[in-house]
Amino acid sequence: MKSIPVVAALLAAGMSTGWAALGGKPARLGPHVAASKSSAGSTGQAAYTETRKVLDSGTTVHEYLDAGGNVFAVSWSGPFLPDLKEILGEHFDAMAAQQRNQRAGGRSPLHIKQSDVVIDSEGHMGAFQGRAWLPAQLPAGFDPRAIK
């Protein structure tokens, strides 16, 4: 496992005045973070930092940061949806637009596969899961199936 400077990356993120979530620095999620933890990870040749935040709602958010501290993938899992606007940043609009385009009838999972972003939102009332990543920003060798 290749190690990378986790602390430096998190400090840089914490000191940032702006935030951009997916594609930028980690989402703040402000007072709603009940616990957080970060660790170095690797899949194949790719090295990255994974942060795990447990929100006060009980939902867990993972963010995957590249060597520059930018978020290239996120995921969420738990009883309630997190603030997806904060987590997905500018890509929230892609999700919302798709949701609006597919209004008819039933309520169903969402799978968006665009060249710039992939977003999955699945589950049901009381048990949601989802993940999103930026195909062009993935560290070399990173397999999206490694997203928790």
Partner: protein, 388 residues
Amino acid sequence: MALSLAALAGCGGGSSGPAPAATTTPPPAATGANAVPIVVDTGTDGSAFNTPFVSVTVCQPGTTACQTIDHVLVDTASYGLRVVASAAGSLALPAVSNVAGQPVGECAQFASGYAWGSVHRADVKLGGEVASNIPVQLVDDRSPDFAAVPVACSSRGANFGVGQGANGILGVGLFNQDCGSACAGSASPGLYFACPAGACTGTALALGSQVANPVPAFAVDNNGVVIALADAPPGGTTSLAGTLTFGVGTQPNNQLGSAAVYTVNSQGDFSTTYKGVTYPASFIDSGSNAIFFADSTIPTCSGGFYCPASTLSLSAVNTSTTGASGTVAFTVENLRSLSVTTAAAHVGADIGLARSVDWGLPFFFGRTVFVAMSGASTPAGNGPYWAY
């Protein structure tokens, strides 16, 4: 994910597709005070697809002032009744308040977006069953206190309302409330809001004030529901009939018979194995309009629906939390081959790198599916479980 007529047309459906059959196998009859008919049609505006509807009568509590609302989606993956406020007509339903006496709004969460509205009490009547004085959501309530959607709600996704083509959603899944103890103790889940003078902030809300699945509130036949639908023929159909029956093993018309029981975890999920991959968070969802599963070998078209060159016959294995398992055979037709007037058809859609198989409405075609409520006693043991 849902399909509009435009999406069908965009997929190459329409004039090129064969006309769907007008009728299918004889539908199960809605007989008895504990049963209401289901229809799968194209909804209030022609846009619905693979969506099962019932009519629900909503009354001012303890009175005969009632409104019957048609085209309410039957949803086994949510809990509680939500109707568009405009469909409730002139009913004066008492508002639900938090402990501070402030009027309560709700941001109901779905993977496909949110429904914003106010919370009121009503008597909910389905056939001969009555859930008295239960909290329901009035979605898209335009009254001043609820006219603006809080940012803490709109940040969860798009405003889905109750979905195009529907007047409401009847959540009759495995659980009693749409939130539960988490919202009774805290505002953190982001579901309930206190909205005095239209300034909405998150609030805790007692269990008895939360929007509730009406089934446990019935005097009888209150341990679950049974959904039976006719099968959809190859090529789909313009209308499909079925029955929503209340109670599991409480009456001659809701006996389990030879149905196999699939117990679930605390989230209401079991596992599904498809092509060697196990999806541990799988569930049965009458409110999803396709079987959503991951298979990169099947081509997709508009909206992520699968469009195989010819109809696929597939199978998966569902395994309960007790280890009981059974094979489910299912078919996936090419969405492009369907007429734009199709209301029901065996279709599938890509769910991405998911942890679930979402057994949507096509799973119900030609089946009788039992939903046993969490904590309720049934002849096959306590819920929650599915049986089919």
